[in-house]
């Protein structure tokens, strides 16, 4: 069978196709079809010719086979130091072979490459830091995912995920109407406690345009209301766009570069339409990666920068605390051992290591913050990055991958983990579920709301009766 009905080389572009794919519970038929899916070798060779240039070819060729990358990889460490988990081996036996054979590979090879690309690498980029040549196998696996995606060899959930971006411009089929309704609902709910609070939609020339992760309107609307409360208390002149509010990109995990471009351009067009001074994104790692770090390149921006300064939530928050826009009640500072999860996407890959620690210096009583080891740009992936959290068929591998983070957290002795990243937050929640080590985990927003000083004039007036 050249191509399946569900598993094929064509991206999902219509709501109907998306629903058909979703109806195939767990991707049963999808993966059955994948067993028969032919490799379009000519197309693969053409892709290599057009996109595999000197950087990646040199990386593949120059690798000295020294094995220094082994210990840098948390998946190698948590899989009993299985030599098959050595990053150099993983990439040489997948992308390396595809390049060597110029695309002349078969179905079985591609399915193996898919398994390696999505269950043996989270694209955390740590190996690149430990390779004398700076061979970044995370970058190469992301590239490999793109090749696999274009041939239809992609986990079911991620085919759906990138289809969501194509159809809804948001993951989890959240429409613009759902979004604006959620904002209105959240504003209304919060107004009892916060008189005057608003979630201004499509306000032009605001100081801040706020963007989110679609799962906030879908599953955690209180996150939006918390953001609104903090902007309100900080006296920020802010807005959300009615369209272009979704900052994440499951297409980045899927390797669907076309959808990545569509998605980020949609966000940038909101910036251009509303002309804010800057944009601020929620506490999410890959959303930041997709919109701020890689996004400018997908959108073809030669300076490599978004159209306006685009801050990660931690940057905005650090600034608000630094300048006193939000004040912390010293009596409410955290007085228990607490540790911090460094998200690969904006710590290793965007340098915000001191920003998150600055925030902690305002909210944690001195002596109670314990660093994980290693930390900052040397920290390990949470275990669920790069789409790993969301792929059902690789759940056992993902659960095993959580062990490194579990042990890092246990070594700190902390019972509270601050995780200002949706993916890390999920992974840490799952590791507690899986291993029951008795920890709590939190984003920054709810912690700050609990411990900030609310100015008198923002408090609800006592009703006189």
């Amino acid at each position: 069978m050249p191509e399946g009905k569900l598993c094929n080389r064509t991206p999902v572009n219509t709501q109907e196709d998306l629903e058909t794919l979703l109806a195939d519970k767990g991707g049963k038929q999808y993966y059955a079809e994948m067993l028969e899916l032919d490799v379009d070798k000519a197309k693969l060779a053409t892709s290599l010719k057009n996109t595999c240039k000197s950087r990646i070819r040199t990386w593949l060729e120059i690798c000295a086979h020294c094995g220094l990358c082994a210990d840098s990889c948390f998946l190698y460490l948590c899989n009993n130091r299985d030599p098959k988990q050595v990053p150099a081996y993983k990439i040489q036996s997948t992308l390396g072979e595809i390049v060597k054979r110029n695309g002349d590979v078969d179905n079985e090879f591609m399915r193996h490459a898919m398994e390696v690309s999505w269950s043996q690498c989270t694209c955390c980029n740590r190996c690149g830091q430990y390779c004398p040549y700076g061979i970044d196998m995370g970058v190469m696996f992301s590239y490999t995912r793109g090749l696999l995606y274009s041939q239809g060899f992609v986990p079911w959930e991620l085919k759906i995920g990138s289809g969501m971006h194509r159809v809804f411009k948001a993951q989890m089929n959240v429409t613009d109407e759902d979004w604006t309704e959620t904002c209105e609902w959240m504003a209304e709910e919060a107004q009892d406690e916060w008189p005057g609070l608003e979630i201004p939609i499509d306000k032009e020339n605001a100081d801040v345009m706020y963007t989110v992760n679609a799962r906030e309107p879908k599953h955690y609307p209180e996150d939006i209301s918390e953001a609104a409360v903090l902007f309100h208390v900080a006296g920020e002149n802010w807005t959300v766009p009615s369209s272009g509010w979704e900052q994440t990109s499951l297409s980045l995990f899927a390797g669907d570069w076309e959808a990545c471009k569509m998605q980020v351009e949609h966000v940038y067009s909101a910036i251009e339409r509303l002309n804010p001074k800057c944009a601020v994104g929620t506490e999410c790692g890959h959303a930041h990666r997709a919109t701020v770090i890689e996004g400018p390149y997908w959108a073809g921006r030669t300076d490599g920068l978004p159209p306006k300064p685009y801050l990660h939530y931690t940057e905005w928050l650090a600034q608000a605390l630094r300048t006193g826009k939000i004040k912390i009640d010293p009596a409410k500072k955290i007085k228990q051992l607490v540790t911090l999860q460094d998200s690969c996407n904006y710590i290793r890959n965007y340098g915000l290591k001191e920003i998150t620690r600055e925030i902690l210096s305002y909210i944690v009583e001195p002596g109670y913050f314990v660093e994980m080891s290693p930390n900052k740009e040397h920290n390990y992936c949470c275990g669920g990055g790069g789409g790993f959290n969301g792929v059902g068929m690789f759940r056992p591998q993902r659960n095993r991958a959580l062990m490194v983070k579990r042990d890092q957290i246990l070594a700190t002795g902390a019972k509270l983990v601050i995780a200002p990243c949706h993916n890390c937050w999920d992974a840490i929640r799952d590791l507690e579920e899986e291993f029951k080590i008795g920890i709590k985990w939190s984003f920054l927003k709810p912690l700050i709301i609990h411990m900030m000083i609310v100015p008198e004039h923002l408090k609800p007036q006592e009703e006189e009766e």
């Binding site: 240039k53 950087r55 120059i62 000295a64 086979h65 210990d71 040549y133 490599g304």
Partner: protein, 226 residues
């Protein structure tokens, strides 16, 4: 025979060595693509160069990077190997003499005892690297015959040179010829094998440094702690 391999063949070797490496540098840089690599090489040049230099510096200095610090034994083997490999051929008095005879150009040299010591250390480190390749499962799995061949090609001129200089074994002539030939083989192999890391290290290391210097934090004023 001696006249041939130290005359035309030597010239050919140098031409291939330098020409090949120049070609490597040219094609690498030409193949960089800001959009595919997602690094704004041209428009953020200053941050890029700063990042590249930091990245190279961290790795060219022994224990200069976290990667070196967590692997002290390998780091020592690595630097012992490379220091001998680079310093001895370039600054050996015996080589400088030839240079002086042929071109009349003086060249700084190192004392013979130091050259001997560096050579022995270098060969010893080569043996250590070989043992490591066989002994460690995580290295063995990525090792192929090609890796052993390259190690032999690289170490051979040093072994033969040492034998010739110290006239170990009766046949000085043999060792000298073997030394010149193995040296030429090594130089010829450089542009065509992964030994091109003579320049490739700087290119690849520099590229990732630019990536971090431009896109991954450098522009945020938060340089990478390699």
């Amino acid at each position: 025979m001696y006249a041939l391999i130290t005359g035309p063949l030597l010239w050919l070797t140098f031409a291939v060595f330098f020409g090949g490496l120049a070609w490597r540098v040219y094609t690498y840089i030409k193949g960089l693509d800001w959009k595919l690599d997602r690094v704004a090489y041209a428009t953020q040049r200053e941050a890029g160069i700063r990042g590249a230099l930091r990245s190279i510096a961290a790795w060219i200095v022994p224990f200069g990077s976290q990667g070196w610090r967590v692997k002290p034994i390998f780091t020592i083997l690595f630097f012992c190997f490379h220091i001998g490999l680079v310093v001895v051929p370039i600054f050996l008095a015996g080589h400088a003499v030839i240079f002086k005879m042929r071109f009349g150009i003086g060249w700084p040299t190192i004392p013979m005892a130091l050259a001997d010591a560096l050579t022995i250390i270098m060969i010893g480190a080569g043996v250590g690297i070989l043992i490591r390749r066989v002994a460690l499962p995580e290295v063995r799995i990525v090792t192929s015959l090609y890796d052993y061949l390259l190690l032999v090609i690289t170490v051979a001129p040093f072994v033969t040179g040492f034998m010739a200089v110290h006239q170990i074994g009766a046949d000085y002539e043999f060792w000298l010829l073997a030394h010149v030939l193995t040296g030429e083989i090594m130089l010829l192999a450089v542009p065509f094998t992964k030994l091109f890391h003579v320049v490739g290290f700087f290119l690849s290391r520099g590229q990732l440094g630019m990536d971090y210097g431009i896109k991954r934090g450098g522009l945020k004023g938060s340089p990478m702690a390699w």
